[in-house]
Amino acid sequence: MADFDEELDASSLNCPLPILRAKKALAGMSSGQVLHIIATDPGSVKDFEAFAKQTGNELLESKEAGGKFEFLIKKA
């Protein structure tokens, strides 16, 4: 994973909590900063794509490793 500025562990949280927590975390960051999110909800893969598309924050990376889903989102 590339560099990031802040990290959010949303493991064991279910829909819609990972998205809501991510939104909250991004609100406290500045434009251009990158948020690293860890989730275990398989639905979060599609949801973070949809979140990025609709909010304009860029999804830099989305990957799965060992039952965990990781995302890098750059704040618009």
Binding site: L13, N14, P16, F51, Q54, T55
Partner: protein
């Protein structure tokens, strides 16, 4: 911001299961940048009480998965037995907790933090003799015209 998308929801159900869709959709839409208003009417008003005391019932709900495949062999009539509702409610709450599903109170709080506007139907509050002081702070009271004032410009309108 007038270019914000708008979501209007009417919440009419006062059960543990049906309490989720309005709060999940409202909080998520708010996170996506929507302006959201939820109009609570009839049994949906239970969701605005300070202490949300709602249950789930297996009665008349053939799609509800039950433990030990009870839905396959357990006669429907028995789901009306005293205690069944309380049992199914505590089992569902335990399951939700184990699966990391937020409580209704938590989701409602997230909605309020995200400035989701909540309106209690004045007519049903009066009809059921509900006490406005039993409701959470920060809500408004209004009628059908209040709902349409917002819903008339909404991009999405849902009846739950």
């Amino acid at each position: 911001m007038s270019d914000e998308k708008k979501l209007a929801i009417i919440a009419t159900k006062g059960t543990l299961d049906w309490g989720y869709p309005p709060f999940i959709l409202a909080s998520t839409a708010a996170a996506l940048g929507y302006e959201v208003e939820v109009f609570f009417t009839f049994y949906g008003l239970q969701l605005l009480k300070k202490k949300i005391d709602v249950k789930v019932s297996p009665l008349g709900n053939p799609g509800m998965p039950m433990p030990m495949a009870m839905d396959k062999w357990f006669p429907t009539l028995f789901t009306a037995l005293p205690g069944m509702e309380a049992m199914m409610t505590s089992m569902m709450k335990a399951k939700m907790k184990a699966k990391g599903v937020a409580s209704l109170e938590d989701l409602r709080e997230l909605c309020q933090e995200a400035e989701v506007k909540m309106i209690a139907c004045q007519m049903t509050v009066d009809l059921f003799d509900l006490n406005p002081s039993d409701f959470i702070d920060g809500i408004e009271f209004g009628g059908a015209a209040t709902f349409f004032e917002f819903a008339g410009d909404a991009d999405i309108t849902l009846f739950v």
